[in-house]
């Protein structure tokens, strides 16, 4: 564990140095496995936030879940210098390889795998291929804010931030759920990557389908339980 930074009130980014690095594809995840002294284990999957260009290191941004066995340990007990068992990179579907136009639609911590795509695109000098729409409850809950919307953020890709509960002062868009007006038109050659909770993923895909985006152009990564 090389560095731990607070990403948002409820999220930390963990930077790990890998003993045997394998370049990941933006959108892939790692499994983190914890083992207790008696052999009891718990494991969870976390998306990589960093670009594959960050050689030998990966960053995982983890939201602390209420009563989260693994996220709670990572947030409260893990320290820089500790060793962590990870496995990856995993996944070959929810990945952006850097060549085609893409619309990235993230809700809350669903931004994490999309950020790997943004960082990769910038490293390639092809951020123009991407558009980003991210939904957060409040401004403080936007991960990577300085890189996306801050005064020093690069101009590309275009980033739309949707605030569902509290909008920043002076915001032209009042707080409210993601709507059709928040989503740009999707061209025929564009792939849409949707990542977030089940509720968010369903709402976003329903809006996209209603706007005429073919199912084949939409890739979805979901997390969380239904009621």
């Amino acid at each position: 564990m090389v560095a731990i930074t607070q990403e948002a009130p409820n999220a930390k980014t963990f930077r790990l140095a890998l003993p045997n690095p394998v370049a990941h594809l933006p959108g892939q995840h790692y499994v983190v496995r914890l083992t207790a002294p008696d052999g009891y284990r718990a494991q969870r999957s976390y998306s990589v936030a960093s670009a594959p260009e960050a050689s030998g290191e990966i960053e995982l941004t983890v939201e602390r879940l209420p009563d989260g066995e693994v996220s709670g340990f990572l947030h409260d007990a893990l320290e820089v210098g500790d060793e962590l068992e990870v496995r990856g990179p995993i996944g070959g579907w929810f990945v952006w390889r850097g060549g085609e136009p893409a619309l990235l639609v993230g809700g809350g911590s669903g931004l994490v795998p999309l950020m790997a795509m943004v960082r990769h695109a910038r490293a390639l000098g092809r951020a123009d291929l991407l558009q980003v729409v991210v939904s957060v409850r409040t401004p403080a809950e936007l991960y990577y804010a300085a890189e996306l919307v801050g005064p020093d953020a690069p101009p590309s890709p275009a980033v739309t931030v949707v605030h569902t509960r509290v909008a920043p002062p002076g915001s032209a868009r009042p707080a409210g759920r993601l709507s059709a007006a928040d989503l740009p038109a999707v061209g025929a050659g564009t792939t849409v990557y949707v990542c977030g909770s089940n509720g968010f993923a369903d709402a976003a895909t329903d809006l996209l389908l209603a706007a005429g985006t073919p199912t084949e152009q939409i890739r979805v990564e979901r997390f969380g339980a239904t009621a």
């Binding site: 496995r33 914890l34 083992t35 207790a36 002294p37 008696d38 052999g39 009891y40 284990r41 718990a42 494991q43 969870r44 999957s45 066995e69 340990f73 007990a77 893990l78 500790d82 060793e83 962590l84 068992e85 496995r87 995993i90 996944g91 070959g92 579907w93 929810f94 089940n198 369903d202 895909t205 996209l208 389908l209 199912t215 084949e216 939409i218 890739r219 979805v220 990564e221 979901r222 997390f223 969380g224 339980a225 239904t226 009621a227």
Partner: protein, 202 residues
């Protein structure tokens, strides 16, 4: 195995129904789908047994409902580490579907499950025969919800749940193994939760 410094985990009162590395999701039922959730009208729905079967057979919604019913009561296990214990599904046994299609040809060794969305998953034939697999349309006495694969999904509860393909449209019997959607993307060809066959190489 290396112990994680500072990790002691939750209570050790582990339910013996939980395979290694799994946790009980309780009353929740996480939804994991790589695609947009389709809306499939039962009027347009069909299911087929094809490939190396006695005769290719296709059922409409009303026809499949008229087959002898069969139920599963037990547990399901997702590769993303949740398990759901003590669930019940109702539908028809794959054995019934296969018998109605004239049985498997002697050369058949594997099946590829096809879906209305284009999703596929592969299994050894022996994992869907002998009372181990169902085509289901009812969960805990209610019609199977759209996000959980309704109107009908495959159910292969002794394997990780990605094998229990949502919105299933056909079983294709093959004389060889052919990797499905997640299997091409690094997941295990068989997926036995008790052996933790999560990814290729496990």
């Amino acid at each position: 195995m290396d112990v994680t410094k500072g990790f002691f985990g939750r209570s050790r009162e582990r339910d013996p129904r939980l395979p290694p590395g799994q946790y009980d999701t309780g009353s929740g039922w996480p939804v994991l789908t790589a695609e947009a959730t389709p809306s499939i009208d039962t009027a347009d729905w069909t299911f087929a047994m094809k490939g190396l079967v006695g005769q290719r057979t296709t059922w409409t919604w009303d026809e499949v409902q008229a087959l002898p019913p069969s139920t599963y009561e037990g547990d399901i296990h997702c590769v993303t580490t949740w398990s759901k214990l003590g669930v019940s599904f109702a539908g028809v046994s794959v054995d019934t579907l296969l018998a109605a299609a004239g049985g498997a040809q002697p050369s058949a060794t594997h099946v590829l499950v096809e879906c209305h969305t284009g999703y596929t998953t592969n299994l050894p034939l022996a994992d869907v025969t002998g009372g181990k697999a169902w085509l289901t349309w009812e969960f805990d006495g209610q019609p199977l919800a759209r996000e959980h694969g309704g109107p009908a999904r495959l159910l292969v509860p002794h394997l990780y749940f990605w094998k229990s393909a949502k919105w299933a449209s056909a079983l294709r019997l093959l004389d060889h193994d052919e990797a499905g959607f997640w299997e091409q993307n690094g997941y295990h060809d068989r997926g036995d939760p008790w052996l933790e066959q999560r990814y290729q190489g496990d």
